[in-house]
């Protein structure tokens, strides 16, 4: 009786021991995690980066979990002066990952400390670069041509477009910030994947003066439009006058030409017709003139020598 009881107890004890052993030696690694195994605080072997069920020496080894996925960093918005002495708020963010968990475990240990390091390294790099360049380099990314309404006064326009031209652009500036920070962060087992500028804004006092400038600029543009309107209207009026003159003179010319041609043609016709016997024409026309021009008011003195009166003195001669 005692024996069978003892066996039962033994079985239970062994089972429990095996369970405890299994539970203290097996551990799970999630897709988003990686593990550094330590033995009495000392790192043992390679870090475990593959997810799944893993085993370690029970009791004496500890699994230290670290995230493997992309981690957040959100910079505190800070006031930064640019090279052209404009004060702006710059808000940045970054994403990073633990590239070397062993180094990370040795140097920073936890995410809180890591974020502090990121603050300490990215922020100065950001300030350094943004301060070294005019504001437009941080705002613009490319030299893309913009429609700024400024088509008039060429000189001013040229200056303005130069003002908005960039050598680096935002991408290049952030790239340099990342490049500066990245090497420093490598020592902590941290890979800075990217850093980006979330917001750039004028500080309040600057903003007010910018608003004033915007207003002045708009007023000038408005005036320009009005002047353009008037100029264009004058142009149209001039065009109108010109058109009228042209129409009238052309019509006159055409009319005169037409008349002239007709006259010429008529003359030609007359010449052709009358040319056959100019004498007869003269005779006939003279007769016509007599008919038309002589009337009651006219007196006529005829000599008997005339053809008409020659018979007055007798038929004989």
């Amino acid at each position: 009786m005692m024996n069978s009881n003892t066996i039962k107890i033994l079985i239970v004890t062994i089972a429990a021991a095996v369970l405890v052993l299994v539970f203290s030696s097996a551990y799970m690694v999630d897709e988003t995690e990686q593990v550094v195994i330590t033995q009495f605080g000392r790192i043992v072997g390679e870090p475990v980066k593959e997810p799944g069920l893993k085993f370690k020496t029970p009791f004496i080894q500890t699994a230290n979990y670290f995230p493997k996925n992309l981690l957040e960093w959100d910079g505190d918005p800070g006031q930064v002066p640019t090279k052209d002495k404009t004060y702006i708020w710059v808000d940045t963010f970054a994403r990073w990952k633990i590239s070397d968990p062993v180094l990370y475990f040795q140097t920073v240990k936890d995410e809180f400390a890591a974020l502090k390091r990121l603050d300490d390294i990215i922020d100065p790099a950001m300030r350094n670069l943004i301060t070294s360049y005019p504001l437009v380099e941080t705002v613009r990314n490319t030299d893309r041509a913009m429609d700024t309404f400024d088509v008039a006064n060429d000189d001013e326009n040229k200056n303005r477009s130069v003002r908005y031209q960039v050598d680096l652009g935002r991408d290049e500036i952030t790239r340099r910030i990342v490049a500066q920070s990245r090497t420093k962060l490598e020592g902590f087992g941290i890979e800075l994947v990217y850093m980006k500028i979330k917001r750039v804004n004028y500080i309040d006092s600057v903003r007010r003066s910018v608003y004033d400038r915007m207003i002045a600029e708009r007023n000038q543009i408005a005036e320009k439009f009005r002047a353009e309107g008037k100029g264009e209207a004058s142009n149209i009026r001039g065009e109108k006058e010109k058109e009228l003159q042209k129409i009238k003179s052309e019509a006159y010319r055409t009319a005169q030409e037409t008349k002239g041609h007709a006259d010429a043609k008529a003359t030609q016709i007359y010449a052709d017709a009358y040319g056959v016997d100019p004498d007869f024409y003269a005779f006939q026309k003279t007769m016509e003139v007599y008919k038309k021009s002589l009337s009651k008011d006219s007196s006529l003195i005829l000599s008997t020598d005339s053809d008409l009166m020659k018979y007055m003195k007798g038929v004989g001669n």
């Binding site: 992309l70 009228l244 005169q256």
Partner: protein, 363 residues
């Protein structure tokens, strides 16, 4: 569970020892307290069974699960990605071995920037948009300030990437949206920002999608919609003035065009009339000439056949026509000289007496 089971075991053993080791637990002496015995006999298998059932239920219930129509289940075995579960009833190994996370991959979600939809239940929005206007104030490429509110609609297109690659995807999406939108706006003038919203939304969408792909966040951007873009309140009046000036400009030009359109077609009409007049004159002139010519020719043809006679006839006919209509007529003998003094040319001359050979016809 284990612990309960062992405790039960312990209790049982204690109980058996109390019985004085008279044998194995099952056949108990009948002289024991009947009630207690019955109670124990009942309780022991009862509790055991309940425990077993509970364990079975626990494992059993964790072996099946349903996935909603717009979801996908991501199954991990010991933390490692194993497979995807499609909508419907699915099975897996009990919890502790396999774990399922359901991700909605169909329904687009919306993030708002620069304004708050009232009654929105999303905690993120209010916290990330502090102060509210701040996220919509942007610098344009010509260093002006614009107010641009917008929304981003996205979908979790790759559940595996969404779950495993990025911590706090939503926060990444928000930051990246702001960054992308500002980069796009930063390359455009204030005019373009106000007038070409569609184009900006498209460019921002493209950029944001690229960035999310770079981060392997498993997010697909469905749409970026720009709300009303504007300039900050203090400068709005001056921008309106520009619009007004544009209107004025157009109006002035239209007015001038109107004058033009009024005058020019009229002048064209008049010109046409002038030309037509001239053409009329030309036709008239030529026709007359031709008529005259034809007439002359006809007369001439007749004349040519008997020149002397015709000429005489024509002369006489003309005279016949002319002379009766004349006022005073004087006929002077060709021998008579110094005639002129007789004539009083100025007067009617009707009472003038001419010498004997002067013919006088009735008036």
């Amino acid at each position: 569970m284990n612990w309960d089971w062992e405790k039960l075991r312990d209790n049982q053993q204690k109980y058996e020892k109390k019985q004085g080791g008279s044998g194995p637990g099952m056949p108990r002496p009948p002289q024991m307290d009947e009630l207690l015995n019955k109670f124990k006999g009942f309780q022991f298998p009862g509790v055991f069974l309940v425990g077993l059932i509970l364990i079975a239920l626990y494992f059993g219930s964790s072996t099946f699960f349903t996935v909603d129509r717009n979801e996908v289940g991501v199954i991990q075995r010991f933390g490692k990605y194993n497979r995807l579960a499609q909508p419907g009833l699915n099975f897996k190994l009990p919890s502790g071995i396999e774990r399922v996370t359901k991700v909605n991959v169909k329904t687009p979600e919306t993030e708002e920037f620069g304004f708050n939809t009232y009654g929105s239940s999303d905690k993120y929005r209010s916290s990330a948009a502090t102060p509210r206007q701040e996220s919509s104030l942007m610098l344009t490429g010509d260093l002006n300030v614009a107010v641009i509110p917008w929304i981003v609609q996205y979908r979790r297109s790759d559940p595996r990437a969404f779950l495993f690659n990025v911590k706090n995807v939503k926060s990444l999406l928000r930051s990246m949206s702001e960054s992308s939108m500002r980069t796009v706006v930063g390359d455009r003038s204030i005019n373009e920002v106000i007038s070409s919203r569609e184009e900006i939304a498209l460019a921002a969408k493209e950029m944001l999608q690229k960035e999310m792909d770079n981060s392997k966040a498993g997010i697909s951007i469905v749409n970026i919609e720009m709300k009303k873009t504007n300039v900050p309140e203090p400068v709005q009046a001056s921008f309106n003035e520009v619009n007004q000036a544009i209107q004025e400009k157009e109006q002035t030009i239209y007015k001038a065009r109107e004058e033009y359109n009024k005058a020019v077609p009229l002048a064209r009409g008049e010109a046409k009339r002038l030309i037509l007049d001239a053409e009329g004159y030309a036709i008239d002139r030529v026709n007359r000439a031709q008529g005259d010519a034809t007439k002359f020719k006809a007369v001439y043809d007749a004349y040519a056949q008997a020149k002397e006679v015709t000429k005489k006839r024509m002369y006489l006919e003309a005279m016949l026509e002319v002379i009766p209509n004349l006022g005073s007529k004087y006929i002077i003998d060709s021998d008579q000289k110094n005639l002129l003094p007789f004539l009083n040319m100025g007067t009617n001359g009707s009472n003038l007496v001419s010498p004997d050979n002067l013919l006088r016809k009735g008036e």
